[in-house]
């Protein structure tokens, strides 16, 4: 069976796709559902749903606060997976990825976690603090057997030797952060980041998703031709916090224009 993520990327015909990030249970499940519906209506075809965790190591203050708020409201990993499944069912045109930190699948049992993801019609998993060379980091084969893409996250500083270790494990997407010097609404993607993407593209046949600091439609435009997917995470959450769903829609439409 074809993984929906592959189908979405194949159907893009070279146009850059947006991948948005939402935190399950933030600000609440109903608003979250309206938010992802609005995202899909704007043309977003890949949505990364975060299972909230108390200590989200790789997230900035905006996503961190959303994690804590969702946990304070009682969100559990089981509830988050059920909600991700509801999103997948409500938006058949969208590929849903689940992102969380290692302790969540570790507490649930990795196999059980992956089985639940697969049962919820999720397309892939992202666990940024679980390197492939740790004992629990060998989940990629198991994920693939269950029809899930293990999406690996790298950075421009990832050494060649580690890439050789990582690339055979990755599938679906190769998710890379962009070093942009400083993050912020007015900053542009630096030429080094764009050159890096091009060299990475020569290293892998996988579609590349690039994120970290994307906060302007022109950032997305700059990535076109160098990455297949632009990841907009905390900026969308920040727009939601300050202007509600209409603010998110306006931004996403501008990015897709």
């Amino acid at each position: 069976m074809t993984n929906k993520l592959d189908a979405v990327l194949a159907a893009a015909h070279g146009h850059i796709q947006l991948m948005t990030h939402v935190v399950a249970g933030y600000p609440d499940l109903d608003t979250g559902l309206r938010l992802v519906r609005a995202m899909a209506a704007c043309g977003v075809r890949i949505i990364e749903i975060q299972i909230p965790f108390t200590d989200p190591l790789a997230d900035g203050p905006t996503i961190m606060a959303a994690n804590q708020a969702a946990l304070d409201a009682g969100m559990t990993p089981e509830d988050a997976l059920a909600w991700a499944g509801a999103v997948a069912a409500a938006l058949p045109e969208v590929a849903v990825l689940v992102m969380t930190y290692a302790n969540v699948p570790y507490a649930m049992g990795m196999e059980e976690f992956l089985r639940r993801c697969a049962a919820r019609n999720i397309q892939g998993v992202i666990i940024p603090d679980l390197p492939v060379d740790e004992p629990e980091g060998d989940y990629a084969a198991m994920a693939r057997r269950l029809g899930l893409h293990p999406v690996m996250v790298i950075s421009p500083d990832t050494p060649e030797k580690r890439l050789e270790l990582l690339l055979p494990q990755a599938s679906g997407l190769l998710y890379t952060t962009l070093k942009v010097g400083i993050t912020g609404a007015s900053s542009d993607l630096c030429p080094e980041a764009l050159a890096y993407l091009q060299s990475l593209g020569r290293r892998t046949h996988l579609p590349i998703a690039a994120g970290f600091g994307i906060s302007q439609p022109r950032h997305v435009a700059a990535l076109a031709g160098r990455a297949q997917v632009a990841v907009v995470g905390s900026h969308v959450l920040s727009l939601l916090n300050h202007g509600g769903i209409p603010a998110v829609e306006a931004f996403l439409r501008a990015c897709m224009a």
């Binding site: 965790f53 200590d55 946990l71 990993p77 302790n103 940024p128 603090d129 390197p131 740790e134 050494p159």
Partner: protein, 407 residues
């Protein structure tokens, strides 16, 4: 020298790929420094003439008499510059940072002692310094916050999560991710991603080596029992490390029993059915719920209320090599008072947990046995907690008069 990445099933480096090169760089720098006599010479020189090492090993005759059991010695790490063992590791890491060409040190701190030590060595080495500290700890450890700022450090109160040490660690790791080129993260305890647990243990193991040499000089014997408090594990691993291979030396760790056994009321990670997890870059035992969410903690001591424990200590626990006991807040406070009255030594609240555990153990041990208790820090930093707990009326009256004096 090859550094162990795992201790049994624990340890590792569970971090985003972005941090892996920095950890590799630290490991390489440490291994290189370890075999460099010039590094050792500089480290030793500063330990002696700047930090005040070796710290005394004091035969606590009054306490021994009072407890009526084995002979009790106190290792007075409290007499280090800045008042705790933390300066040793901070100095070692600052020298490593300089070798790596870093110009800025960052640190997390709970009780403030590690932050103070890092701010101190940063000043000494001419480096910039930022210290992350939970808002709760900033409020209860003001003397250390004031001192860190005086030393030129930027103290950042962390308002996330439980607003204590765990959240300060998250904030420090995130700052490090953003400033890897210029910055070294001086991790303060024997935990975190590899190679930190080993780096910190190695720098702190001077404590145990000094104990062995001093006891040999004073008594011609080896210790029978070593007692230390255990937050993350730097003072305990430092004391225990040189004795791990000698099964005749029994090792005891005092955890924070807090207000009681309910979740959120203590930081006793190794009681009941400890739960392994992967948090803040390493695998170990963590206080967590059934879903893997890290639980809040409490201790009267800001230095012990951490939800995790160093991975080597977790492994030593599994092997039965170290016995851990939770000490309630009230018992630690009683030990704090007792040591002040009997020996003229005011220990840190962290160390008071170790004293309390020694008070439990010593009376049943034979007089010929020797016990060494690590007084990891001195208690003046805890004045705002202990004075309120023990002498509230006069303390509040003093604070009020101080405020009114300037109005």
């Amino acid at each position: 020298m090859i550094l162990p990445r795992h201790f049994g099933p624990f340890g590792g480096r569970y971090v985003p790929e972005m941090l892996i090169p920095a950890l590799d760089q630290l490991e390489a720098a440490f291994v290189q420094a370890h075999s460099d006599p010039a590094f050792h010479a500089e480290f030793q020189r500063l330990l002696t003439c700047y930090c005040g090492r070796p710290t005394p090993l004091y035969p606590a005759e009054n306490l021994t008499r009072h407890l009526g059991g084995c002979q009790v010695f106190l290792k007075l790490e409290s007499l280090n510059h800045t008042g705790a063992h933390k300066i040793t590791n901070a100095l070692g890491q600052a020298l490593l940072a300089r070798r790596m060409g870093k110009t800025r040190l960052i640190a997390e701190t709970g009780a403030g002692q590690h932050g103070l030590a890092t701010a101190t060595v940063a000043a000494r080495c001419g480096m910039q310094c930022t210290v992350f500290m939970g808002e709760v700890d900033v409020a209860r450890q003001y003397p250390n916050v004031f001192a860190m700022r005086l030393l030129g450090a930027d103290v950042v109160p962390v308002a996330d999560g439980t607003r204590t040490l765990k959240d300060a660690v998250n904030a420090a790791l995130k700052d490090w991710i953003q400033h890897l080129d210029s910055t070294h993260y001086v991790l303060g305890s024997a935990l975190g991603p590899h190679p930190y647990p080993t780096v910190v243990r190695e720098f702190q193991s001077v404590i145990g080596r000094e104990v062995a040499a001093q006891l040999e000089t004073q008594t011609g014997r080896r210790p029978g029992h070593l007692v230390a408090c255990v937050g993350g594990g730097s003072n305990s691993m430092g004391l225990f490390a040189p004795f791990l291979g000698d099964p005749s030396v029994r090792l005891y760790g005092a955890e924070a029993g807090g207000r009681g056994p309910n979740p959120g009321d203590h930081a006793a990670r190794l009681q009941g059915q400890p739960k392994a997890g992967i948090v803040q870059g390493y695998k170990s035992y963590f206080l967590q719920d059934d879903h893997g969410q890290v639980q809040g903690t409490h201790s009267i001591s800001a230095g012990l209320d951490y939800a995790g424990i160093g991975p080597e200590l977790a492994w030593l626990f599994d092997q039965g090599r170290v016995a851990f006991t939770p000490i309630p807040d009230a018992e630690a406070l009683a030990a704090y008072q007792l040591l002040a009255r009997l020996e003229g030594i005011i220990p840190a609240l962290e160390s008071s947990h170790a004293v309390a555990l020694a008070m439990r153990l010593a009376p049943s041990l034979p007089p010929e046995d020797i016990m060494v208790v690590n007084i990891s820090g001195r208690g003046d930093k805890d004045l705002f907690i202990t004075a309120r707990a023990l002498d509230a009326e006069r303390w509040i009256s003093f604070l009020q008069s101080e405020v009114e004096r300037d109005q």
